[in-house]
Symmetry: C2
Subunit: 330 residues, 2 copies
């Protein structure tokens, strides 16, 4: 390629048109966007070749999609709306230009569905592995963000959808034959093309029910530990209430795996796990239902040393504080 400018031109060819709120777009020292009337929510996520994806698990467009999903999901977990993003791409020699264009296209595809505009970034060469960082700025009503420290004793703990599908999908990709991959394409899709729960986050915030929330990026157990520690409560999860997809149950049964290992420790599902006072839950559940969002009650909070417990037929046990933590795994 001629230089960085030619690269940027190619990478941005499928970029949707920016709205009028973008004052200075891609191509200057920095982007300038119009003021917002609400607080800003800022988050950043990185994906690295060999650590977060392999050629056999993710197509380039999936990588871009998933990076956008991870960032949008963090904004959703604060109850915010994603607005502006900048991407930083570090490219080694072995990546072809059309693969990079596909990566950006996947990122634009998901971003566009949620009103997120990519307004700039940086491209540099990398010595070994492709690394891509997306930083997203969202907006939220001042003082109303859904903090993980907001859970209180006597809350209901709930999920916005099934968990474990993404990591089961990764397992299919790494271990399944063609027939298995075809049969469990929903799990593969959950791994490659997760959908962040922005509408659910907005709903939790709008009902002003004092909800705490985290998105499931590192696994249900880990996210609940974070809420428990930040809020100073004990979280108790009921095994028989955890929502599992039929595909996950089928695949676990076929392979002899415990589906709850994926559900608790799998990560990257990008559902929200939240806590609201018991007195608020019925109203919340009904309003959510009316708007097409299902909330699954999965447990409760109580007084005690911050921790996460697990209730089964055999009684209560402590859940390990581990998850899908790329930094310490592997």
């Amino acid at each position: 390629m001629r230089d960085e400018f030619a690269l940027i031109h190619l990478l941005t060819q499928y970029r949707p048109s920016p709205p009028p709120s973008v004052e200075v777009d891609v191509g200057d020292d920095a982007a300038v966007v119009h003021p917002l009337n609400r607080s800003l929510v800022i988050t950043s996520d990185t994906m690295i070749e060999t650590v977060h994806f392999l050629p056999e698990t993710m197509n380039p467009a999936d990588i871009g999609w998933k990076l956008a999903a991870a960032n949008i999901s963090d904004i959703a977990a604060m109850g915010g709306l994603p607005r502006y993003g900048v991407v930083s791409l570090s490219v080694p020699r072995h990546w072809e230009m059309n693969a990079l264009v596909d990566l950006y296209r996947g990122m634009y595809d998901l971003a566009d569905r949620f009103g997120l505009v990519i307004v700039g970034g940086d491209t540099v060469k990398a010595p070994h592995d492709l690394t891509v960082t997306l930083t997203v700025i969202g907006e939220v009503e001042g003082g109303q963000a859904l903090k993980r420290s907001a859970a209180r004793e006597g809350d209901v703990v709930f999920l916005t959808g099934t968990v474990g599908d993404s990591s089961a999908g990764l397992h299919v990709l790494l271990n399944g034959n063609d027939g298995t991959k075809k049969r469990f394409s929903d799990l593969i899709r959950a791994h490659r093309r997760p959908i962040p729960q922005v509408a659910a986050g907005r709903l939790l915030l709008s009902l002003n029910a004092g909800a705490a929330a985290n998105d499931i990026s590192d696994g249900l157990a880990q996210e609940c530990w974070e809420i428990a520690e930040a809020s100073g409560v004990r979280i108790v999860l009921e095994k028989d209430r955890i929502p599992l997809s039929d595909a996950l149950v089928d695949y676990a049964s076929q392979t002899g795996y415990d589906p709850y290992e994926w559900a608790l420790y799998g990560g990257e599902d990008f559902q929200l796990v939240g806590c609201v006072p018991e007195a608020e839950f019925a109203r919340l559940e009904q309003t959510a239902h009316n708007e097409g969002v299902t909330l699954y009650r999965i447990g409760w909070t109580e007084q005690g040393k911050p921790a996460v417990e697990w209730v089964t037929d055999q009684g209560r046990t402590l859940l390990e504080r581990r998850g899908y933590n790329h930094f310490t795994d592997g």
Copy 2:
């Protein structure tokens, strides 16, 4: 290290206290900051081990400082004020914890001088090389950002300080003996600890003189080419007006190098190069002088095919459109 939380705790131990405008700080899914009354300026820069620094050229604290400088400089080049940042760190096994803490400390040191608060980010493991991305959000008066497309025929072209020192400093670090390094410590400091020109950018904006500006991240020639192309003007630089430091001239003389190679193509000086109408320049220069900022007139703009020319005793020649472009070098 125990896990990512322990890592974050260690890395942020030297972080200055955040101001009250930080509503939700480091430690939740995303940071939340108070609304701004002006437009947002957003920029991102990445530094990678072996591409942007080597152990023998930069200490960890220098890397953090320089990454902050590169981002703040982009905000300065838009006439803005840096406000909030998020950092994404990818760490390979061979990096020691105290080196990472030093990197963050260097970043905090420079950020704090300019009112930039680091409010979050992401840490992941890297298979080979340390990669660190900083994204900075600044603010600027709506519609007044200093665009590189604002230069017009008949402008004065000016610089805010000497250029070439940073790349000459790199040359000292890679080639000099201990005596040379001691003698040319100012050049080494220019490479390791550059100071972004926020005050100069604010001044250019406040005088409302219709200035165009770029920061010198990729070399004076390259930055002038960008202004010329974005504005549709021809830029003519006068060799004998380019400000060179005494140290640069001495070091070039001692080593037999052409100091203008560093001045034109060296990069990472983080001075600003700007263009204002001839009728505005005297007022601008005087006001700048009163505020302790020196502006060096280095050339002019004229009608013609966008390009950058160089005037010497031998006449006019075209300057190459190349610079300190990490992506295509090496």
